[in-house]
């Protein structure tokens, strides 16, 4: 009996000890969850009961060099429904389909879906959003946000770029300066029940968005418009595939204008600017859109032809392998190894000095000069001039120069490269390199972004760009400017001649590959004033119909641009005495195309 009693007491002790232990574990757990992990679980609980809706931040605006607004925001609305709060679903479906231009079926599908919040349509015009709000429909929410708006529609479309539905930059400057422009999104916090459905009539907590900073560019709307008009005119006259124009300050790399026709409407970036066949697959349509958005001046390369003679000329003068009065003889070709490389003038230019060779754009002269430099030294200059790297322009997708590898370069390749054939370069690289050779020898970085300012107009950051000094000497640079002025005043570039502004430049006509297609690229690089260049430009006409010589069709475009842009930039006319003596009136050129010689004489 005594033994049995002792045994029971032991059991009771063990039981209560176990209960106590469990109790202590629970107490410990409660202390852990409340005192130590309290904040964490409070946050979790709030998250469970709160529903977040983001409020788009106003994206920073973009201004041109004169403070003209070129990219801004338009207030738009997002229409959504909260299923649990709907009282008259049929009326909601009827009103929304009517106001939003959607089919009743499409609206019904979304309205009848049981979800905490269902978006019906975004980027709805504010006027439509306001009208929907006036119906005061239970369960229908109209939230205001922003949509990017470009006041000039297609102006500089491939430069500015555009944003997607989430207001994020997709191409162009909108992508590169995303961090400055995007701002910080705000939030609307609402309470939800256990099912995650918003509780009606509870107060919303708002975290206000912070607007993005504004970007100021070197691009000048007036110059850009003027360049676009000039490009459009020559595009139509020459029925060309595309026309690109870049105008830049060669001293610091600030770009005034960049045109790539055909441009597209930035406010409707998904609408193709060409007629397309019906039933085009979405993949094919996307391919066409990508092509339409492509900035040829940056993203594509071309065979530069004779404008590249500026590079050969600069390297040879700097290296001292040629001087201005060196004489050459052009029989119309030059034999290099086993190849007979022709000059464009089959009969030959005969005896000529180096300057005359440049004025005539004589291929054998530049082949000879290139051979004098040799592969090793020429290649060193490619690197020194920055031709083998990207320019670092503040636009995405810059194409690199496609040049022969040094180890694969023989004398024939050296010869063809010397007059601009057998390799590919981007227009912006070509223009930047020539800028650096005529500005005194400073390799500049081409750019659009100048500074970033907050909404009060205070400068947040002045954007800076790399400059590499001394890629050639000031003396060589001056000599190159002199030669290129001779090219325009009396050589192959004379169609760009402006008596009062002393233009320098070089023409080019390159045959596209495969050569058998007989398709050409006509181009001209010009700068002014030749003694102290303040503007440099490149005109590229892709696949012109009819006459295709750069000196004939591209140089006049530059002449017309300079004639208008130089006075606009405040660059004064500067006639020499000789020019002043022959200063004449200007007249409008009459049209004589289609006439016969006899008729036109009468």
């Amino acid at each position: 009996m005594q033994r049995n009693k002792t045994h029971n007491r032991k059991k009771v002790v063990i039981f209560f000890t176990a209960v106590f232990a469990v109790f202590m574990v629970l107490v410990g757990r409660i202390i852990y969850l409340t005192a130590i992990k309290g904040d964490y679980y409070t946050e979790k609980a709030e998250e469970l009961h709160q529903r977040e809706r983001s409020i788009k931040a106003a994206r920073g605006e973009i201004y041109d060099a004169n403070g003209v607004l070129i990219a801004t925001n338009k207030t738009v609305c997002t229409i959504s429904v909260i299923h649990s709060q709907l009282t008259d679903a049929e009326k909601v479906i009827q009103v929304l389909s009517q106001e939003l231009g959607m089919t009743e079926e499409a609206v019904r599908k979304k309205v009848e879906k049981v979800s905490s919040r269902e978006k019906i349509k975004s980027n709805v015009d504010k006027e439509i959003g306001d009208r929907i709000r006036e119906y005061d429909l239970a369960g229908v929410k109209v939230d205001e946000d922003f949509k990017r708006y470009y006041p000039f529609d297609s102006l500089a479309s491939k430069v500015l770029g555009f944003t997607g539905s989430d207001n994020q930059g997709i191409i162009g400057l909108e992508v590169v300066y995303e961090e400055y422009l995007k701002g910080t999104e705000g939030q609307i916090l609402t309470l939800t029940d256990a099912r995650g459905v918003e509780i009606a009539n509870t107060a919303e907590r708002r975290i206000e968005p912070i607007a993005g900073n504004n970007l100021y560019l070197s691009l000048d709307v007036n110059i850009q418009k003027y360049a676009e008009q000039a490009a459009q005119k020559v595009l139509e006259q020459k029925q060309a595939k595309s026309v690109s124009i870049i105008l830049m300050n060669p001293q610091n790399g600030e770009i005034y204008a960049m045109v790539n026709l055909p441009e597209f409407n930035l406010n409707e970036p998904y609408t193709l600017n060409i007629e397309i066949e019906e039933n085009l697959s979405s993949e094919e349509q996307q391919k066409l859109l990508n092509q339409m958005w492509r900035n040829g001046a940056i993203n594509d390369t071309y065979e530069p032809g004779s404008t590249f003679k500026i590079i050969t000329m600069s390297a040879a003068l700097e290296e001292g392998v040629v001087s201005l009065d060196d004489t050459f003889s052009c029989p119309g070709f030059k034999i290099v190894e086993d190849r007979k490389i022709r000059c464009h003038k089959v009969a030959g230019h005969g005896a000529e000095t180096f300057v005359q060779g440049a004025m005539n754009s004589c291929n054998p002269v530049f082949i000879e000069v290139g051979l004098r430099l040799g592969i090793d030294r020429y290649y060193e200059y490619f690197q020194q001039f920055g031709l083998l790297s990207k320019t670092g322009i503040d636009l995405p997708g810059e194409a690199k120069t496609i040049m022969h590898k040094k180890e694969n370069m023989g004398l024939v390749e050296l010869a063809t490269v010397s007059f601009g054939q057998s390799f590919q370069i981007s227009p912006i690289q070509m223009l930047t390199t020539v800028s650096s050779l005529i500005n005194g020898g400073n390799r500049i970085t081409p750019h659009f972004g100048v500074d970033v300012r907050n909404s009060e107009g205070e400068i947040v950051e002045v954007l800076s760009y790399e400059t590499k000094e001394g890629i050639i000497s000031e003396e060589t640079s001056e000599t190159v400017r002199y030669i290129l002025e001779q090219v325009v005043s009396a050589g192959s570039g004379k169609n760009a001649y402006l008596a009062c502004f002393h233009v320098g430049g070089k023409t080019a006509t390159s045959e596209k590959l495969p050569r058998s297609l007989k398709k050409y690229i006509s181009s001209f690089i010009g700068f002014a004033p030749a003694s102290d260049p303040q503007i440099i430009g490149i005109v590229i006409i892709d696949e012109p119909v009819g006459i295709y010589y750069g000196g004939t069709i591209a140089a006049p475009v530059m002449r017309e641009l300079f004639e208008n842009v130089l006075p606009y930039l405040g660059i004064e006319e500067n006639y020499t005495e000789e020019e002043a003596k022959y200063q004449t009136q200007t007249v409008t050129m009459p049209s004589v195309e289609g006439l016969t010689l006899r008729k036109q004489n009468h």
Binding site: Q237, S306, I547, T584, V592, T596, L597, Q600
Partner: protein
Amino acid sequence: MQENSFELRLLGEGERIAEQFPLAGQEVADNSTVILYLEEILSEDESESE
């Protein structure tokens, strides 16, 4: 054309003017050189372009 002091340069052969430079409508000096490309245009090699 003759009312102005344009200097005319004819390139090619034939009677009909296929193209002209400077282009119609452009403002030019009244003593400019005007290039008229005739119907049968010379090849690049025979012309004086680059």
